[in-house]
C-alpha cells in the first residue's frame, strides 16, 4: 500500500501545513521533522509563490519571508529528499501554486518530486478544468506510480460538479470548509456536517477538511465528521511566533494529535 493509503488506516488523520524556507530553510526542515515525529499523519509541505491568492495573511507573510530568504522549487525538492534521509515515513504532499511549477516544467517537477520522496500534489489554482496538462505529467513512468493531484471541493461546489470532481479523486478529497481564504476562524461553519455528507454521497475516498481550523477543540469536532483534519495558518502562526520553532512544532503536533481519536 502506498504511503497515503497507509496513513488513512487510522483516521481521522492530522495533517498540518508548513512552508519550506520559513523562517529559514534549515529551521523549516527541522520543524517538519518535529511535526512528523510528534503526531502528524501526513504533512502538506508548502512551496512559496509571490501571489498566493487563496491564502490569508498568516501564510502570505510566511511564504513571503521564505521567498526573501531565497527559497526556490529546486531547494524545496532537495529539502523533501533531506526529510526522507532523516527517516520520515509519513506521506508528504507538496502544496503550491501553478506558476512556479509551470516555470520549472510540470514533467520535470513531478519526476524530481517523486525521486525526492513526495507522494502527491495540491495546487489550489488548478481546478479540474485546467488540470489536464499537469495530470499528463503525473502519469507513471520509469517505475514511478501515477501520483495523485488532490482534488479540492468547496461549499460553493454544486452537486453535479461535485460528482464530476469526486469521480477523479485519488488519495483523498480536500474539502474547503469555508468560502474564503486560509486563516483561523473562531468558530466552524454551521453546515459542515451536511457538506461532508454531500461529498460522501459522491465518493468513497477519504474526506479531509481544511481552512479555518485553529484549535485542538475544533480539530476534535471536525475529526468526528471527517477522515482528516488539515491545519495551516494556526500551525504556521504558532511555530513562526515562537522563540524555539522546533519545540513549538512538537508541542503543536502533540496537542492536536491528543485531541483526535487514537491520539
Amino acid at each position: 500500500m502506498n504511503r497515503i493509503g497507509s496513513a488513512f488506516k487510522n483516521s481521522p488523520i492530522f495533517m498540518p501545513y508548513f512552508p519550506l524556507g520559513y523562517p529559514d530553510l534549515d529551521t523549516s526542515i527541522n520543524v517538519i521533522e518535529a511535526l512528523a515525529r510528534n503526531g502528524a499523519d501526513l504533512i502538506e509541505v508548502g512551496l512559496s509563490f509571490s501571489d498566493p491568492l487563496a491564502d490569508g495573511p498568516v501564510i502570505q507573510r510566511a511564504t513571503q519571508v521564505a521567498l526573501e530568504k531565497g527559497i526556490t522549487v529546486r531547494k524545496s525538492l532537495a529539502a523533501v529528499a533531506e526529510l526522507r534521509r532523516r527517516g520520515l515515513e509519513l506521506p508528504l504532499i507538496l502544496m503550491g501554486y501553478y506558476n512556479p511549477i509551470l516555470a520549472y516544467g510540470p514533467e520535470k517537477f513531478v519526476r524530481e518530486a517523486w525521486a525526492a520522496g513526495a507522494d502527491g500534489f495540491i495546487i489550489p489554482d488548478l481546478p479540474v478544468e485546467e488540470s489536464g496538462e499537469f495530470s499528463a505529467a503525473l502519469i507513471g513512468a520509469d517505475g514511478r506510480p501515477p501520483l495523485p493531484l488532490i482534488q479540492m471541493l468547496a461549499p460553493t461546489t454544486p452537486n453535479e460538479r461535485m460528482e464530476t470532481i469526486a469521480r477523479r479523486a485519488r488519495g483523498f478529497i480536500y474539502l474547503v470548509a469555508v468560502t474564503g481564504v486560509t486563516g483561523e476562524r473562531s468558530s466552524l461553519s454551521e453546515g459542515l456536517s451536511e457538506l461532508i455528507g454531500r461529498v460522501r454521497e459522491h465518493t468513497s475516498a477519504p474526506v479531509c477538511v481544511g481552512f479555518g481550523i485553529s484549535t485542538p477543540e475544533q480539530a476534535k469536532q471536525v475529526g468526528a465528521l471527517a477522515d482528516g483534519v488539515i491545519v495551516g495558518s494556526a500551525c504556521v502562526k504558532a511555530i513562526g511566533e515562537s522563540e524555539n520553532p522546533v519545540e513549538a512544532a512538537a508541542g503543536f503536533a502533540s496537542g492536536f494529535r491528543a485531541a483526535l481519536p487514537g491520539g
Binding site: 501571489d51 502570505q60 489550489p124 470532481i165
Partner: protein
C-alpha cells in the same frame, strides 16, 4: 464540464482559480450569455451609454500635431471625454448591469491608476450597490485625486500593503474578498484579464470604442486608418478599439507597453518587450505572458503610469501577437512624459499618462508616413489625475513648467 463560450484564446486564457470561485465564474458566464441575446439588456446598456456616459465619444482630428510632425494625419478617439474620464466606465457599466441581473448587491474592484476604481464607484452609486475598491498604497500615494473621488462617490477604498503594493496586489486582495463573500459579491474586474469569462466579457463591453471609431473614421476621414495605436496594460482599451478593425486586414494594430526606465534597466512593465523575464505563465486566473523570474515568481514592475504597471497582459493580446494580427512595442516613461506635454501644448488636450504611451508611438511613426496616411490613437483617458506625478517628474528632470 464545458463552458458556454470558448474559455481560451489559442493556448492562452483559461480559468486558473480556486474551486470556491468556479461556480461564480459559471454563473457569470451564464448571465453574460443570456444578457447578450436579451434585447432589453442591450437597450438598457445602450441607453445608459448614451445618456449617462455621453457616448458616442468624439473623434478629433489632431490637425496642428499632424502638421508639426509633417507626416500621417493623426486622429484621436476621445475616451477621455467619457463620463469619469476614461474608457473604464464602458466595462464597469456593463458589468454592473450583469450584477443586477444576477441579483448580487455588492461589488469589489481593484484599481491601479484609480480610473477603474472611480468607474466602479460611479456605477455602484448609480445602481445602489455597495462598493469596495482595493488599491495598493503606492498607487494611493500617486493617484490621490482619484482616491477622493471614489470616497465621494460612496465607495470604501481599502489600502493594500501586501507584496509590491500596486495593481497586482490589489487584484490579489480583491480576489480574496470575492472568494470570501462570493454569495452576494461580484468581482468587477477592470481589464481584459483574469479567468474566463472576464477577458471576453470585458472585450465585449469595450468593443463600443472600436465600433464607433470605425464608423467615425469612415464618415469624417472618408477612409479607414492605416494604423491603430493603443496603450496596453491589461489591455482593455486596446482590445476595445482593435476589435472594431479586426477584420480589416489593411489596418495595422499596434499595442504600446510601458517601457518604464528602459527594457535594459529591468524597471518596466513590457511583458512582450522583455524576452528574458516575459514568459508564458499563470497569474490571476489566466495563462498569458507574465514578467517573472527563473523560479516562476512574479516580477516587480515599474511604470510612471499606474494603469500600465502590471506584470501580465490580457490573454487575447498574447494570441493576437502570436497570429501577427497585432504588433506590440513600448514607450519609456520619458517618451510618455514628452508626449503628454506635446499633446497639452499642441492640441489643448491633457491625456492620461497611460494614453500618453500610445501618443508617444504616434509621434515616432507619423513623420515616417505619408501625409495621405492616417493614424488612429485611442486616447483612453484624461490626465487630470496625473498632474502631481507629471509635476514631480518635470521637477526631477529640471524642466520648467
Amino acid at each position: 464540464m464545458t463552458t458556454l463560450l470558448p474559455p481560451k484564446f489559442g493556448p492562452y486564457g483559461g480559468q486558473f482559480v480556486p474551486e470556491t470561485l468556479m461556480p461564480a465564474l459559471i454563473e457569470l458566464e451564464a448571465a453574460f450569455v443570456s444578457a447578450r441575446s436579451d434585447p432589453a439588456f442591450q437597450a438598457e446598456f445602450d441607453r445608459l451609454m448614451a445618456s449617462y456616459v455621453g457616448r458616442p465619444t468624439p473623434l478629433t482630428h489632431a490637425r496642428r500635431l499632424s502638421e508639426q510632425l509633417g507626416g500621417a494625419q493623426i486622429y484621436l478617439k476621445r475616451e477621455d471625454l467619457a463620463h469619469t474620464g476614461a474608457h473604464k466606465i464602458n466595462n464597469a457599466l456593463g458589468q454592473a448591469l450583469l450584477v443586477k441581473r444576477m441579483g448580487k448587491r455588492r461589488i469589489v474592484a481593484e484599481t491601479g491608476a484609480g480610473q477603474h476604481g472611480v468607474a466602479s464607484a460611479t456605477v455602484a452609486s448609480l445602481m445602489g450597490l455597495d462598493c469596495v475598491v482595493y488599491m495598493g498604497v503606492v498607487d494611493i500615494a500617486r493617484q490621490e485625486p482619484n482616491v477622493f473621488r471614489m470616497k465621494l462617490l460612496g465607495a470604501e477604498v481599502r489600502p493594500v500593503t501586501s507584496g509590491t503594493q500596486t495593481l497586482k496586489d490589489a487584484i490579489n486582495e480583491a480576489i480574496r474578498d470575492w472568494v470570501t463573500n462570493v454569495a452576494d459579491t461580484h468581482y468587477l474586474l477592470g481589464s481584459a484579464l483574469g479567468p474566463h469569462p472576464y477577458p471576453t466579457l470585458v472585450r465585449e463591453f469595450q468593443s463600443v470604442i472600436g465600433r464607433e471609431a470605425r464608423e467615425q473614421m469612415l464618415r469624417e476621414a472618408g477612409r479607414l486608418p492605416d494604423t491603430v495605436i493603443a496603450c496596453v496594460g491589461g489591455g482593455s482599451n486596446a482590445i476595445g478599439v482593435f476589435s472594431g478593425f479586426m477584420n480589416d486586414d489593411s489596418v495595422e494594430l499596434i499595442g504600446v507597453e510601458a517601457g518604464g526606465s528602459g527594457i535594459g534597466t529591468g524597471k518596466h512593465a513590457a511583458r512582450f518587450g522583455d524576452p528574458q523575464k516575459g514568459r508564458v505563465g499563470v497569474i490571476h486566473g489566466t495563462r498569458t505572458y507574465v514578467l517573472q523570474d527563473e523560479d516562476g515568481q512574479i516580477a516587480e514592475t515599474h511604470s510612471v503610469s499606474a494603469g500600465l504597471d502590471y506584470a501580465a497582459v490580457g490573454p487575447e493580446h498574447a494570441r493576437m501577437r502570436d497570429l501577427e494580427r497585432a504588433f506590440y512595442t513600448s514607450a519609456t516613461d520619458a517618451e510618455a512624459l514628452d508626449a503628454f506635454q506635446t499633446l497639452c501644448r499642441v492640441e489643448g488636450i491633457i491625456p492620461a499618462l497611460e494614453s500618453s504611451h500610445a501618443v508617444a508611438e504616434a509621434l515616432k511613426r507619423a513623420p515616417k508616413m505619408g501625409k495621405d496616411q492616417v493614424i488612429l490613437v485611442n486616447l483612453s483617458g484624461r490626465g487630470d489625475k496625473d498632474l502631481n506625478t507629471v509635476i514631480g517628474e518635470m521637477q526631477k528632470s529640471g524642466t520648467r513648467i
